[in-house]
């Protein structure tokens, strides 16, 4: 099974601003790996650097052992990396089906029709709305379309940037289960950036935590779930008693 990704020591800038300060991470073929971190930590920039939308000043990105850094993003896509960017970037004036077929633009093989049906199986609502302009879909449906369109690339690895951002809990659960199915049924490797840390930790097997452009923690998700920092900052599981105590203490000092 293919789709392994090795990122070594990348540094990426927005003009003079250094957004990524030496990030290394590895996604093994067939894994679901999650990249966590607060807003502005640099998660999106890491994904953009992998998919070629941004060029790193330093460092390397290897897909199945081949360097892909500094290639154009469309070339990287054709090599098998499908980037589903944050914010549901669909082609608003094309129909749903045209959007999906554009996902397979670079493919010449006969599997395209089959994959189109597969996408409609994963997301029946897209079949229902296949002739509608994508701009008229709801947020959740556009997210499904973006994932379906990435699937049409027949990718080795999918980079998903906050797929459940702003979606209702029903859609969040559906998208999480689809990601798991894509991984299990189609063998697609996944690198997942997600605001919903609980969902991300549940469906991934390994996780990295970013802060200020650096990786500050990495471990299996089993162990990350136990880590107190994660519990405090992301899962909101801080012991009420302790919290109360601290508040009390603060009061004292005010006086």
């Amino acid at each position: 099974m293919a789709g392994s990704l090795i990122v070594k020591n990348i540094e990426t800038y927005y003009g003079p601003i250094m957004a990524i300060r030496g990030v290394s991470l590895e996604v093994r073929a067939g894994q679901i790996v999650t990249l966590l971190g607060a807003n502005g930590a640099g998660k999106t920039t890491v994904l953009k650097t992998i998919s070629g939308a941004m060029e790193p000043q330093k460092g390397s990105v290897d897909l199945d052992g081949e360097p892909i850094v500094n290639l154009d993003p469309d070339v990287i896509a054709r090599r098998g990396i499908a980037h589903v960017p944050e914010g549901r970037e669909v082609f608003p004036f094309l129909s749903v089906e045209e959007n999906l077929l554009m996902g397979a633009y670079s493919r010449k093989d006969k599997g395209v029709r089959n994959d189109l049906h597969a996408v409609y199986d994963y997301f029946p609502v897209l079949l229902e709305k296949r002739a509608q302009a994508a701009g008229f879909l709801s947020g959740g449906q556009q997210q499904m379309l973006a994932i379906g369109r990435a699937l049409m690339l027949a990718p080795r690895i999918m980079l998903l940037d906050e797929p459940s951002l702003g979606l209702s809990p029903k859609y969040v659960a559906e998208i999480a289960s689809i990601i798991t199915r894509l991984n299990q049924e189609r063998g697609i490797t996944v690198l997942l950036v997600e605001q919903n840390v609980k969902v991300a930790l549940d469906i991934s097997e390994y996780g990295y935590v970013m802060e200020n452009g650096r990786i500050v923690m990495e471990d299996t998700t089993e162990r990350l779930k136990q880590a107190t920092d994660i519990q405090e900052f992301y899962l909101g599981m801080k012991d009420e008693g302790v919290r109360g105590g601290r508040r009390w203490k603060q009061r004292k000092t005010w006086r």
Binding site: D74, V90, F91, S106, L153
Partner: protein, 289 residues
């Protein structure tokens, strides 16, 4: 009857504006830049046709085809050689480059073909179609029929071909187009090829009704007005804007003093910007960055 007569010549002139305006819009929609050398591309097309037909002695249709193909290649060369190196530069700089390109093309045409006017041999001159007591010059008919054919072809191309849809995709969301593996840079080259071929068609069609001279590309400015009237960013709008400007101009010629009539296109542009700044065919399109 006179009104109908004027209407027809207005429509024919408007088609020419419309064809050039479509070139503006195509490039703008795909690459978000305005190619102010669009009129000069038309001029170059007309001169190339003159070279193929009058100088090299090709007959009209093969000469026409050779012109369109040559201009497509020139379009690609300009995109690769001049515009692509400008990626990432401020829009203002890119704008200046296309204006400069127009100057250069005019100078080159003057150097190669001279500044005295030339006439393109064509099968239409002098023949007139009579429809009841209306007489329409074949050259005007050719412009109208040619434009109509091109519009239908473009519609079919953008609506039904994979490449046409990919061009729409790249113009609607450039980054997403990259992410699905559409070769966006190659698409831009093709858009320039298409746009330059359009200019070539306009040049060949307009040649019989207007003499060839290096400054003939200045009608590009009126076509630019037409594109804005039509709602810059919509191909049907470009044609419609062209027709409106063309027809209004012909009527102004008849009823207004010559000095004022010549400003019709600009007056219409001003009126449109005041009344409906988004143009006739406002595309609801919010460009994503």
């Amino acid at each position: 009857m006179e009104v109908l007569q004027i209407l027809i010549s207005g429509v024919s002139q408007g088609c020419v504006y419309g064809l050039i305006a479509m070139g503006f819009v195509l490039i703008y929609k795909a690459t978000e830049m305005v190619n102010f050398a669009q009129g000069e591309l038309m001029m170059l097309g007309a001169y190339l046709a003159y070279t193929f037909i009058n100088v090299l002695g090709m007959s009209y249709i093969p000469g026409f085809i050779a012109t369109v193909i040559s201009m497509a290649i020139i379009g690609v060369v300009i995109e690769r050689g001049v515009l692509r190196p400008m990626i990432g530069e401020p829009p203002f700089a890119v704008l200046m480059i296309t204006i400069g390109l127009g100057f250069i093309l005019r100078a080159v045409a003057g150097a190669i073909w001279g500044t005295e006017t030339k006439t393109l041999s064509n099968p239409f001159t002098g023949s007139v179609a009579r429809i009841s007591d209306l007489s329409v010059g074949y050259e005007n008919l050719a412009i109208i029929v040619g434009t109509l054919t091109l519009c239908v072809t473009f519609y079919l191309f953008f609506r039904f071909t994979r490449l046409g849809i990919a061009m729409q995709a790249a113009s609607q969301n450039q980054l997403a187009a990259y992410y699905v593996g559409i070769p966006v840079k190659r698409i831009y080259s093709l858009v320039w090829a298409l746009s330059a071929s359009l200019a070539a068609v306009a040049g060949v069609l307009v040649a019989p009704v207007s003499l060839l001279e290096p400054v003939m590309g200045f009608i590009g400015i009126k076509a630019f007005c037409a594109a804005i009237v039509g709602g810059f960013g919509s191909l049907p709008g470009a044609i419609l804007g062209g027709l409106i400007v063309g027809v209004a101009e012909q009527f102004a010629n008849l009823y207004l003093p010559p000095g004022i009539a010549a400003t019709t296109a600009y007056v219409m542009l001003l009126v449109m910007l005041l009344v409906r700044p988004q143009g006739l065919f406002a595309s609801i399109q919010q460009k994503k960055v």
